[in-house]
């Protein structure tokens, strides 16, 4: 059957589309490993489905597909009628996932973490809802405590609060019962109460517990459905069509508001941790010092050597800053949280770009000031400021794109400069030349060089904007 | 004169070595493929596999 014919059948079956989840012959491969093989799954609204099976059976993969974190390699998946391939943004607005690791920022308080998630999702009445959710999971008294100081079980409960904050139509829980104490388990069981009417899919190793709380269990083995049991004791799911919440057209993922949320979150984190900026400044000053020893720079040489020296320092510091902007989120698992939010992927790119540019510009300002103090050059401020602003933007435009790519590869520390340096040669040449005119070393004017950087900035911002979707998708 | 010859040797040797490199790969892959096909048909013929 051709894909077109398959699609036509799906479109003529409104009943199937009215289900919360419809998966047809879903397959997922990671490289050469088949994690899921031709799984058919249908979940009606209000069902509480438990996924059972040994490790590596495909439970987590199935949850990742449902949450749009991963795309099916083959087959078709509809969540509330939205296609997981083409309308993933709309699905993200309906679904919440509690993963193995809670995607929480350690340095933010419990309430701040929830507020950040709420802003990404565009939740209204945010302060009230945050308070209500914290109360629901029994963390009201810990609202202003940094998340890093909470216990494992408390963090898990906070993760559940984070998932419920957006009032999801479909709640996905990946082994939610691990690491929970008795009171946490009580919160969980309350969550799984059929009276809530919420559709829930969760994975667990505890078969007995699953049969008690779920309305249906699905056992996976080797990426296939090995068995399905409708639990006899479970009350039937309340009737509903699942189409109730579905707006006529899928909502457009937001762009501007999430950028603000991401930038504000990064700045708050930096204010709490104070580790990136300070270390970058110290690093840059050290590079300056090392170059001074290496070339024995005198004041007379500064117009000739100064621009290159400064820019080499900046691109080294830049590589560290870009690397950090994604690798930190990747290592803490918080990138998953960003990917689950119904925001335009470009918002993540632009937010990161802004934060990296701001911190790099601050580092450059301090370094240039110290450089001026060391060597006393005569400087024209305008070409210098133009070169710093435009050069940093162009460098960060490409650097942020490549950092997102290299963040989850082997040897990312080496890979990023290898990718970034050759591509940013035009910025380096033009920025050094423009800076040289500022130091009076070159008779030519700065503006052709600034024009060159500006065109580079425009071209690569546009290109990165267009391709960034492909970086974050799995 | 000698420079010119050096240049030609580099070009020929370069392309030749590159072709040689992937010819080897092709040979290895084809060998692997033949072995896999043979073992597959052997399994299909044996009664134990045809459950």
């Amino acid at each position: 059957m051709s894909p077109a014919a398959e699609l036509a059948i799906l479109e003529t079956e409104p009943l199937a589309a009215a289900n919360m989840v419809v998966g047809r012959r879903l397959s997922k491969r990671y490289g050469r490993v088949a994690a899921l093989r031709q799984v058919d799954i249908e979940i009606a609204p209000g069902e509480r489905v438990a996924l059972l099976g040994p490790n590596g059976a495909g439970k987590t993969t199935l949850l990742r597909l449902l949450s749009t974190l991963a795309r099916p390699t083959a087959g078709q998946l509809l969540v509330q009628g939205y296609d997981a391939r083409r309308q993933a943004g709309a699905i993200r607005g309906l679904v919440s996932l509690v993963g193995h690791r809670p995607f929480l920022y350690d340095e933010l308080t419990a309430a701040e973490n929830l507020r950040f998630r709420g802003r990404l999702h565009g939740v209204t009445d945010l302060p009230i809802r945050v308070g209500a959710m914290l109360g629901l999971v029994g963390l009201a008294e810990r609202a202003n405590q940094p998340t890093g100081t909470l216990s494992r079980g408390q963090q898990q409960r906070l993760a559940i609060a984070q998932a419920l904050l957006t009032d999801p139509a479909l709640l996905l829980l990946d082994e939610p019962d691990t690491g929970l104490d008795a009171s946490g388990r009580a919160v969980l069981e309350q969550l799984l109460d059929p009276a809530s009417g919420r559709t829930i899919v969760f994975s667990t190793h505890d078969r007995e517990w699953a049969q008690r709380v779920a309305s249906r269990t699905i056992t996976l083995r080797d990426g296939r459905v090995a068995g399905e049991i409708t639990t006899p004791g479970a009350r039937p799911a309340p009737a509903g069509t699942g189409r109730e919440h579905l707006p006529a057209r899928p909502p457009r993922p937001a762009l501007v508001a999430p950028i603000g949320a991401i930038v504000a979150r990064e700045l708050l984190s930096e204010y709490r941790r104070r580790d990136t900026l300070v270390s970058l400044v110290v690093f840059s000053l050290l590079v300056l010092l090392v170059f001074d020893f290496a070339f024995d720079v005198r004041t007379a040489d500064v117009p000739l050597l100064g621009p290159g020296l400064l820019w080499v320092t900046f691109i080294f510091a830049g590589v560290l800053a870009f690397n950090r902007s994604f690798s930190q989120e990747e290592d803490r698992g918080t990138l998953t949280g960003l990917l689950l939010a119904p925001v335009d992927r470009a918002a993540i790119y632009l937010g990161k770009l802004l934060v990296s540019s701001i911190s790099l510009l601050l580092v450059e300002a301090v370094t240039t000031a110290v450089f001026a103090g060391f060597f006393n050059p005569r400087v024209q401020p305008l070409p210098l400021i133009g070169a710093l602003l435009l050069g940093t933007l162009g460098f960060a435009a490409v650097g942020t794109l490549f950092a997102a790519m290299s963040a989850n590869t082997r040897a990312r520390e080496v890979l990023l400069p290898v990718l970034l340096f050759p591509v940013s040669v035009p910025v380096l040449i033009a920025a050094v030349q423009a800076t040289a005119t500022a130091f009076g070393a070159s008779a030519s004017a700065a503006h052709p060089w600034l024009g060159l950087i500006a065109s580079y900035d425009a071209i690569f911002l546009a290109v990165s904007f267009a391709v960034f979707d492909f970086v974050l998708e799995e | 004169m000698s420079y010119m010859f050096a240049a030609f040797v580099v070009v020929w040797a370069g392309i030749f070595l590159y072709i040689l490199y992937w010819q080897r790969q092709v040979r290895d892959l084809r060998g692997e493929l033949a072995a896999l096909r043979a073992s597959e048909s052997a399994r299909a013929d044996s009664p134990a596999a045809g459950r």
Binding site: R29, G31, A34, T409, L415, V423, V467, V471 | M4, L29
Partner: protein
């Protein structure tokens, strides 16, 4: 490659007709979907053309007056450079098509072309360097075209490094496709910025607006080598892509064998 494997194992219907992808498949695959054997015909055509271009270079074309015999490097240097640009153009096309369609064959095209492009660019740099030694007396000058070719070489070496760092999966293919696009756009910008910076290289001789300045016989020799090298490039590209298809075939068979073992265990 993951997705071609997918296409192969599930025997997904291959789109028939005149779409570029279908044409490419017909060039590389037999009707049953297995890779074609290497082509002897292409190899012979390439070999005969090579002999013809050697004749054109050494016997037909006159010896250049000021540079003497070393000028003959030019007849290989320029077509190699042309081939390298062509290769990276194919990488661009394959990259864009892969991001648009998600079909593995486009990734195979981009990857194969990039690898060939890096080999050819290395040869361009080496022959150019030897030529430079004879006419400028130095192995390397920081002239605009040399410098931008070197940067281009680094960009596509990074492309190959990126692929090996991510591994053989569709994420690696996507990342590589992004670099294939960004890198190709970057090359002319690099060239422009380096040209502004300094230039020493001879002005373009063939695509000169006032008409070619090269004597007719030299131009003829250049054209013959240009055609030869282009044919050679397509020969290399086809064979290189066949390797990827063979690899996918091996993967598919290995997986089938594993699958069978698994189902035997189940039973």
């Amino acid at each position: 490659m993951a997705a071609s494997l997918q296409e192969r194992t599930e025997r997904a219907p291959r789109d028939e007709g005149r779409s570029p992808g279908a044409v490419m498949d017909r060039l590389l695959l037999q009707p049953n979907g297995l890779p074609k054997p290497p082509s002897r015909l292409w190899a012979w055509i390439t070999a005969v053309l090579m002999v013809a271009s050697l004749y054109m270079i050494f016997i037909y074309a006159p010896i250049e007056r000021t540079q003497g015999i070393p000028q003959k490097i030019f007849y290989f240097h320029v077509p190699l450079a042309w081939d390298a640009y062509l290769a990276f153009f194919f990488t661009l096309v394959g990259s864009i098509a892969y991001l648009k369609t998600g079909r593995a064959r486009w990734d195979v095209l981009a990857h194969s072309a990039a690898e060939i492009g890096v080999v050819l660019t290395s040869l361009v740099l080496i022959t150019g360097s030897i030529w430079g030694k004879t006419i400028w007396g130095t192995w390397w000058t920081w002239d605009a075209r040399l410098t931008s070719t070197l940067v281009m070489w680094f960009i596509y070496v990074a492309y190959l490094m990126l692929r090996s760092a991510v591994g053989e999966n569709d994420r690696g293919a996507r990342y590589a496709a992004i670099l294939g696009i960004v890198g190709f756009i970057d090359v002319p910008i690099v060239h422009m910025s380096v040209t502004w910076w300094r230039t020493l290289h001879p002005q373009p001789t063939v695509l000169n607006p006032a008409g070619p300045t090269l004597p007719g016989s030299m131009l003829a020799a250049l054209m013959v080598t240009l055609v030869t090298m282009t044919i050679l490039f397509f020969y290399l590209l086809r064979e290189r892509m066949l390797i990827e298809h063979l690899r996918a075939e091996v993967h598919a068979l290995t997986d089938r064998a594993l699958e069978q073992q698994l189902s035997e265990v189940d039973a």
